[in-house]
């Protein structure tokens, strides 16, 4: 998977590095990492529900944070585990805008192997940067 969990983060929580050739792939990898903190096998998640997503922010890192916050929101507000597909990242004036589709289903302890609970996407060590091979993001999650 195009993400790895990090050691050098606040000990009470978890952090990851996610990457992709394009910015969109990087964002999708970050979303996959966030879901992977909660659900062991992504393959167990059926695409029964879809929610359109649209977030914006002054900076790329905050745009990523707000996208990942959608995963956390749907988990608590609608009891849905969602992955994120069809990410599109663009610049509109002063803002970065991200559109995507959240795809998933209601949390089912009988079928979903449950791990931890992501409660917030933090600013800690948050970064999105271009690399020689594409894009890379660092995110720390409050669990």
């Amino acid at each position: 998977m195009p993400f790895e969990f990090l050691d050098e983060v606040p000990t009470a929580d978890v952090g990851f590095r996610a990457w992709g050739v394009t910015l969109e792939e990087c964002f999708e990898s970050a979303a996959a990492a966030t879901l992977a903190m909660m659900l062991e096998n992504r393959a167990d998640l059926q695409p029964r529900e879809r929610r359109p997503l649209h977030v914006q922010a002054e900076s790329l890192d905050l745009a990523l944070l707000r996208l990942l916050e959608e995963i956390v929101f749907y988990k608590d507000a609608e009891n849905l585990f969602v992955g994120i597909d069809a990410v599109n990242v663009g610049r509109h004036g002063e803002q970065w805008e991200v559109t995507a589709i959240a795809v998933g289903e209601h949390i089912d302890a009988a079928r979903h192997h449950l791990l931890g609970d992501v409660k917030a996407v933090t600013l800690h060590q948050l970064g999105v940067r271009q690399t020689e091979t594409g894009w890379e993001a660092t995110v720390v999650l409050d669990v």
Binding site: D7, P10, A12, L62, A77
Partner: protein, 491 residues
């Protein structure tokens, strides 16, 4: 890089008293006050370099009074270290969500019973299984209450009072809860629809991570102050108590996230505040933004009190069902409920003058002394109860506040603090093996996530005995009794 700066700051630490250390305000440009750390030498040496970086950043906050303070269980957090404390002048100072924590009013509740260990020894698995069935825990868990939007807003305003009025508690529970179960000034209009949507179905859920519900026993040799213990309701050898640790769930987290992001773009542009760490996002307490967060934060505080009240109700129902006796008859009274993530307006003596201060406590527990007005009833004779939770393997403590706590705005530690990352703990420990190992040692555990259980292995945490001893040596709190776990529910 944070670590190398932290390592440099470690070199600037001097000893002030037996368990009191200081980093002078000259150690880093921008520090308005010194940083003061309460710890033994051993605990200080164990602290991450990031703690020194963070506590000296806290010392830069506008309006900070006295020192930026770190408790003996201090460890790497967001903005503030966990175990961080900052008292602010309410007129000139700031309010910072990082000084309260994402999990607003994360706290501990302790309940006594008339039962002794021999009465439960042979039925611990049944008892724990019943609690596991009854108290929703883990990711995706929903509370038992189906609340309308109006009802949830009511809970955000009235906290545990709402629960007691609905029949989910006893009036005396409120007397034994910090702030009497609800803090005045909560305004749900200051809370985003997102936060309300996240929290509405989570009232009465335990959570996950380091949140837990434990059945514990007070061994006679672990009662250090029999008189204080008796006042707190611990009055028989091998008494069974129940302790649980949880907070405001997604609700508090969303409130914190919303306001951190709201404050960020305003700090320099509107307020002229420049700080080295975005996690210290803040606003002047007297600004409309600062007051909005304060009113929203109070909603988080109240929801958390209601959360713990509902869980207590479930625990009483389980014990009543298991023992065929009314919970009153089982003596299931609350000892106390403490918060360890809050900001409150309090009066303190500073430099010979009585001052009103906004006290941020993040991963730190209020510990008022005997005689102080906010300590209720008979507890006022001995001081406010303090509950410091250890790991699921080590046990926990009941303490009380002490007069010498004035040196830290009557604050003490909250737990044992992690020393190992969750990733490392998952590599090193195996959840199911740990479960078996604990069972052999007389601790029966039920968990939603075995990966989560591995992360909570005792070896991932500091030594609770050392942390509590440090609070005593520093004069922040005094141990009353120690509890050993015999049953545990984890999310």
């Amino acid at each position: 890089m944070a670590e190398s700066t932290g390592a440099r700051l470690r070199q600037r630490i001097t000893q002030v008293d037996e368990a009191v250390w200081e980093i002078p305000s000259s150690a880093k440009p921008g520090m308005r006050v010194p940083a003061r750390l309460f710890a033994t030498r051993a605990l200080l040496d164990q602290m991450d370099d990031a703690v020194f970086e963070q506590i000296t950043n806290v010392a830069m906050l506008p309006g900070i009074v006295g020192q930026a303070i770190c408790m003996p269980d201090g460890h790497w957090g967001y903005g503030f270290p966990i175990g961080g404390l900052a008292a602010m002048d309410p007129d000139t100072g700031v309010i910072s969500p990082g000084g309260i924590g994402f999990d607003i009013n994360c706290g501990m509740r302790l309940v006594r019973t008339n039962l002794v260990f021999d009465e439960i020894r042979d039925r611990i698995p049944e008892l724990v299984d019943a609690l596991y069935q009854r108290v929703p825990a883990g990711v995706g868990a929903r509370g038992l209450l189906k609340l309308t939007d109006d009802q949830f807003r009511d809970i955000a305003m009235r906290g545990a009072h709402w629960c007691v009025e609905q029949g989910y508690g006893w009036p005396e529970d409120l007397e034994h809860t910090e702030e009497r179960g609800a803090i005045a000034g909560a305004d749900p209009e200051r809370v985003s629809p997102r936060a309300l949507d996240r929290g509405r179905s989570q009232v009465g859920t335990l959570g996950s991570g380091n949140h837990y519900l434990e059945i514990q026993v007070v061994r006679p040799e672990s009662v250090y102050d029999a008189g204080a213990a008796e006042v707190m309701g611990l009055d028989r050898p091998n008494q069974v108590v129940i302790m649980f640790h949880c907070g405001s769930r997604g609700f508090g987290h969303q409130i914190a996230s919303d306001y951190i992001q709201a404050f960020l773009p305003l700090m320099e542009r509107k307020f002229g505040i420049k700080l080295p760490d975005r996690d210290l996002a803040c606003a002047p307490f007297q600004s409309s933004e600062g007051q909005a967060y304060f009113a929203a934060m109070k909603c988080g505080i109240n929801m958390s009190f209601a959360n713990r009240q509902m869980i207590l109700h479930c625990i009483r129902e389980v014990f009543a069902d298991q023992f065929g006796r009314d919970p009153h008859d089982l003596g299931m009274d609350m000892v106390y409920d403490v918060s360890h993530n809050t900001a409150k307006l309090e009066e303190h003596d500073v430099g010979g003058r009585r001052r009103r201060l906004l006290v941020h406590r993040k991963g730190a527990t209020r510990a008022f002394a005997a005689g102080m007005p906010d300590v209720p009833g008979r507890l006022r004779e001995i001081g406010q109860p303090v509950i410091i939770g250890g790991s699921m393997e080590s046990g926990s403590y009941l303490l009380c506040g002490t007069a010498s706590g004035r040196q830290a705005f009557f604050t003490t530690a909250h737990g044992s603090g992690r020393t190992m990352s969750r990733k490392q703990a998952r590599k090193q420990f195996h959840g199911r093996r740990l479960e078996q190992d604990l069972k052999q040692r007389g601790i029966y555990v039920r968990t939603v996530s075995y990966a989560g259980l591995a992360e909570e292995a005792g070896a991932a945490y500091k030594d609770i005995d050392a942390v509590v001893a440090a609070t005593q040596r520093a004069g922040l709190s005094t141990p009353v009794a120690r509890f050993v776990p015999v049953g545990n529910v984890k999310g």
